[in-house]
Amino acid sequence: MSTLDVVRKDFTAARRSRALWAVATLLALLTALIAFGFSNSRSPPIETVQQLYRTMGGVLGILLPIVALVASYMSIAGERESGGVKFLLGLPNSRRDVFLGKFTSRVTLVAVVVGFMFTTATVMATARQGVLAPVVLLGTFAVTALYSAVFVSIAVSLSAMVAARSQAIAAAVGSYFLLVILYVIPGVSVALLVRFLHQTLLGFDPNFDLYNAVLYTSPLIAYRKAMNLVVPSELERQVLQRPAEGYTLPGYLGDEMSLVVFAVWLVVPLAVGYLRFNGVDL
C-alpha cells in the first residue's frame, strides 16, 4: 500500500457516510435556491450571473469551513481512537503515507461537495437567466476549492495531533471560532482587539496597515480578497478597512497576497500536524 491506496480506502469509506450525502444534498439545494432567487432587474443576465457567484462566495465563506472541518476532524483521530491506525501502519505504510493519504482524500471529498454545489447553482442560473459565465464560474470554483482545502488542512492536522474524539471536536470548533467567527462578528473582531492593544494600551498612533495586515491573516478575509481576482472589476469589493478617502493599500495587502495567505495556511498546519503525528507514541 502507498499514499494512493490510503486515499482510495479513505475516500471509499468516507463517501459511504449518510451524513455526508445529506449535507452535500442540502448545500446543493441551498445554492440552487440562492441561484433561483437571485435577480437584478437593472443588470443584463450575464452580469446577474456573475453577481450570483460573488454573492455565493459570501455565503460559502461562512458555510464551507464547517463542511471542511466536519468532513475532516475525525480523519486521523478516529483511526487512533478505534485502533484502525495500527492496522493502517501495520501494512507497509509510513506515517507520511497515512497523513498525506487522509489529507488528499478529504480534500477531494470536500472539492466534490463544492463541485456539486456549484453545479446546481450554475444549472439554476442558466435555466433562469439563459446565459453561462464560464470564466467567473471556474475562477470562483477554483478559489472556493482552495479555501476549503485550507480548512481541510487545518482539520486533518489538528486530527493528527489529538487522540480522542472529544479533543478533535474541541479543536475543530475552536479553529472555526478563531479563524472565521472572530473576523465576522462586529464588536469581537480581531482587528478591533489589535487596535485596542496598539492604540489604547500601548499608546501608539493609529496604523491601519497593521490592523489590515492582522485582519488579512484570516483565511476568510483571504478568500474574500481572492474573489476579487476572479470577478470583473466592477464586482470587486473592498474587504479591508480604508480609514480615509485617498488611502491606498500597500502592496502586501493587495488581492494577490491572498494566494500567499492560502499557501501558508495550507503548508504550515500540514507541516506541524505531520511532525506531531510522526513523533507521537501511538
Binding site: 440552487a32 443584463p44 443576465p45 450554475t122 442558466t126 435555466a127 433562469r128 437567466q129
Partner: protein, 215 residues
C-alpha cells in the same frame, strides 16, 4: 432492502437526477418584455418632451403598440408581459438594461427616461383610464398652500381650482409607460417548473448517490 433493488433504484435515481439538472439548463427561460403603466404623470406633453421623454400620440403607435398599451391598462396589476420578439418596435426595451447599475438619483431619472415612452391619449378615446399619479397630490398641495392665505370663496381660490382642473385635464391625456427586457419573474410557471426540476434532480442525485455508495 434487497441489494439488487437498491442498486436499480440508485441507477434510476441518478438518471432522473442528471436529467432533472440537465433539462432546465438545456431549455432555459426566454427573456420577456415588461410594460408597466402604473406611474402616470403630473406633467403635460411639452414639459415631458423638455425633460427628454419620447412623446408619441396613441394614434401614431403601431397596432401592436396600441394592443400592448390597452392590455397593460386593463390588467389589474397595470402590467403586461410578452415574450421577447413580440413587443412593439417603437418601445425602448434596451434603454435601461444594458447600462450597468444606477449610482444616484440623477442616473435613475435618466435611466427612467431612456426606458419609458409617453403616450398622448386622444381626447375622446374609448380607452381604460390612465393611472392616477400619487405625486399629483404633492404638486397640487404646493399651489393650494400658496393660495391658503386668502379667504375661502374668494375669486382667487376659484381661479386656483379652475387652473388645477385645467391642468388635470391636460396631464390626464399623457400616460407614462415604462418598458423593460428581462428574465421572467420567479413566480412565473416556467420558472417554478425549472426550479422544481433542479430541486428534484438534486435530491435524486443525493439519494441515488448514497444508495450507490453504501456498503
Amino acid at each position: 432492502m434487497d441489494r439488487s433493488i437498491a442498486d436499480t433504484a440508485a441507477v434510476v435515481l441518478l438518471a432522473v437526477g442528471v436529467a432533472g439538472l440537465l433539462l432546465p439548463a438545456l431549455f432555459p427561460a426566454q427573456q420577456v418584455l415588461y410594460h408597466e403603466v402604473d406611474d402616470g404623470t403630473t406633467a403635460n406633453g411639452s414639459e415631458l418632451d423638455a425633460q427628454g421623454y419620447t412623446v408619441v400620440a396613441y394614434e401614431n403607435l403601431s397596432d401592436r403598440g396600441q394592443d400592448i398599451y390597452v392590455e397593460a391598462l386593463r390588467s389589474p396589476e397595470r402590467r403586461y408581459t410578452v415574450p421577447a420578439g413580440e413587443g412593439a418596435p417603437e418601445f425602448p426595451y434596451t434603454g435601461a438594461n444594458d447600462s450597468g447599475p444606477v449610482e444616484n438619483a440623477e442616473e435613475y431619472q435618466q435611466r427612467r427616461i431612456q426606458s419609458s415612452i409617453v403616450i398622448e391619449r386622444p381626447e375622446d378615446a374609448d380607452l381604460p383610464p390612465a393611472a392616477e399619479p400619487v405625486q399629483r397630490v404633492d404638486r397640487e398641495l404646493e399651489e393650494r398652500q400658496a393660495a391658503a392665505e386668502d379667504e375661502p370663496g374668494t375669486p382667487k381660490e376659484a381661479r386656483l381650482e379652475a387652473r388645477l382642473e385645467q391642468r388635470r385635464a391636460e396631464t390626464e391625456r399623457y400616460d407614462l409607460m415604462t418598458v423593460q427586457k428581462g428574465t421572467p419573474r420567479a413566480t412565473d410557471s416556467g420558472s417554478l417548473s425549472r426550479l422544481g426540476g433542479v430541486l428534484l434532480g438534486t435530491l435524486a442525485i443525493g439519494v441515488g448517490g448514497y444508495l450507490r455508495s453504501r456498503p
